[in-house]
Symmetry: C2
Subunit: 349 residues, 2 copies
């Protein structure tokens, strides 16, 4: 005799995309929507998890570009679909062998209160809750892993080396700089405002920082800070900054390419004039995606958790409360005024 | 009672440079000269060796460029000085603890019959004489090591990968292609004449080859041979060829930079337009110098000697007999007509 279980249906607030976007997202590219959801996985949902979203992450990759990133693992903006992005969430029910009710996870989720997620490949279980859960959207999540991979795996740093970071105020740049300082490197960053330059020097402990908008000659600016040249350039900008860095690299220097922000919204990329100089100094240029390095997550935690617990890493968060404030929060990270990692808080538990 | 030993003085024919050179050397940039030499090391010559030169190597690096290679280990052309280059030589007398009379060595020597050499840092003892001694100027010397390092160390190849080699007819390109075939890769090369293209396919076993001078659209040419893209690009050309390769790289592809021939004699290097594409495919670009990898020479011999003994590697040599024919032989390698590795033979033993 079949037993009929009455399943509670609850409201599920969502943020959806109006359309595909090009360039930076605006608040008006998104809209609030509401549906209902049964807080139980349907029988056919094998390997799926039902989760309650706690913290949603606003990240610089959540934009459109003229040139699609072909190897992107997911699309953030699909017309009339819920926004997709990283977050921290709690498992309410699981049909996946690796996860059980009550587990706290971080990974790719959706901008809604409750989600049924089937793409569980890059979920990470949160075992350490003595640090703020929201950190798993940043310092202990994808941006933190990106900084770790960029610096240790691709950069292959040695104590005392000279490190230059463009777009140093970004979530990843900030952390790369601090990791470099902790290793005993000399660290200089570039950023786009006087305020950011001051914060890099005073809060994040950079040895130097400059406002690239005030430099007419980027080569001269780099020579001012790197009389002996650059061992590791953490590249996030492209174009003229890359050209200036190329002629200032030291022998066997490494250029770690996380992005080339200046190149995404122009129809023809700016030509690079000084690539040939890598021959004279045996330079390595390497682009990477964090997705290829997630197997190092346990090793990453071994490095980062002690740094956080001992207060050796500075980290600033900005919280937007509730999904209603999500679209504005996402827009804000592209206007260059946010003071730290932007997180949308749905629930604290 | 001091014993006075009568030391034989012999004629020592030499090839000297008239001046510094820019661009490719011509026969007329050099002149024959003759001096005498005592076939005994002077008492003050500690750590020096007196050698008889047997084979001298003509290599593409023996030229002048507008941009000096700052990290070059030696200068080939210095006014009124004997030409410097790689060779195979026999030790007549040694004050260096690592070498003794009768040793056969290869390394950096001078274009003369007898030399007193003090820069013994990159000398290699020749222990295997069942292969032609002249091979130690090429296949088993610096060019061979360069190919080995380029392919195995920087290229990090896997069986079945797609390999493209520009300037594939050069000593290093030929060998990289053959090593790639021996590993089970798909190999295509570019060269500058129909004859070279045929030899690459028929003699060196390349899967394909094309004459870049006959291709109006290098991107289309690469797409014709690499429908699924390139895993390893052995880069020797720069400029337009590099730009075409950049947009045809596969995910996590590697560009091994041995040189950028097309860029050395122009006052401004050609701008590279497609560097940004490395981000979309997580490409690594790495320039190297063989000097950083000479510690791998024993490992290299373990790989190459069996290949040579089993006839698995094709290698062509062109011999010029005597120092008198040296200047013309060196000029010839830059005219693009030589059929193989150019060696100047001074003595067979």
């Amino acid at each position: 005799m079949a037993e009929t279980k009455v399943v509670e249906k609850v409201k599920n607030k969502q943020v959806k995309a109006k359309d595909y976007i090009t360039g930076n997202p605006k608040e008006t590219d998104m809209y609030l929507s509401s549906s209902t959801i049964s807080l139980q996985l349907p029988p056919e949902a094998s390997n799926a998890v039902l989760v309650k979203n706690l913290y949603l992450s606003c990240d610089p990759y959540m934009r459109g570009s003229k040139k699609p990133l072909k190897d992107r693992v997911f699309d953030t903006f699909v017309p009339d679909s819920v926004i997709v992005g990283y977050g921290v969430f709690k498992v309410l029910e699981s049909k996946h062998p690796d996860f059980k009710t009550g587990d706290l996870l971080w990974g790719v989720t959706k901008w809604e209160e409750y989600s049924i997620l089937t793409n569980t490949e890059n979920f990470f279980k949160i075992d350490h809750t003595d640090v703020p859960l929201s950190y798993y959207t940043g310092l202990l999540g994808m941006p933190g892993m990106s900084a770790y991979v960029a610096f240790y795996e691709i950069g292959a740093p040695k104590k005392g080396e000279y490190v230059f970071i463009s777009s140093a105020f970004g979530a990843i740049g900030q952390l790369v700089g601090q990791l470099a300082k902790l290793m005993g490197c000399y660290v200089v960053g570039s950023a786009g405002s006087k305020e950011k330059v001051e914060i890099l020097k005073n809060k994040f402990g950079f040895d130097g920082a400059f406002n690239y908008k005030e430099e007419h000659d980027l080569d001269a600016a780099l020579k001012r800070y790197f009389a002996e040249g650059i061992d590791i350039y953490f590249e996030n900008v492209g174009g003229k900054m890359l050209d200036a860095a190329l002629v200032n690299m030291r022998r066997r220097g490494r250029i770690v390419v996380a992005g080339m922000i200046s190149q995404y919204d122009i129809s023809e990329p700016e030509p690079i004039k000084n690539l040939v100089s890598i021959i004279y100094k045996q330079v390595r240029i390497e682009a990477f995606t964090v997705f290829d390095y997630y197997h190092l997550y346990p090793k990453f935690l071994e490095t980062m958790l002690p740094y956080i617990r001992e207060g050796k890493v500075s980290y600033v968060e900005a919280f937007a409360e509730g999904l209603d404030n999500g679209p504005a929060a996402l827009e804000a990270i592209f206007t260059g005024r946010n003071p730290g990692k932007q997180v949308v808080v749905l629930s604290h538990e």
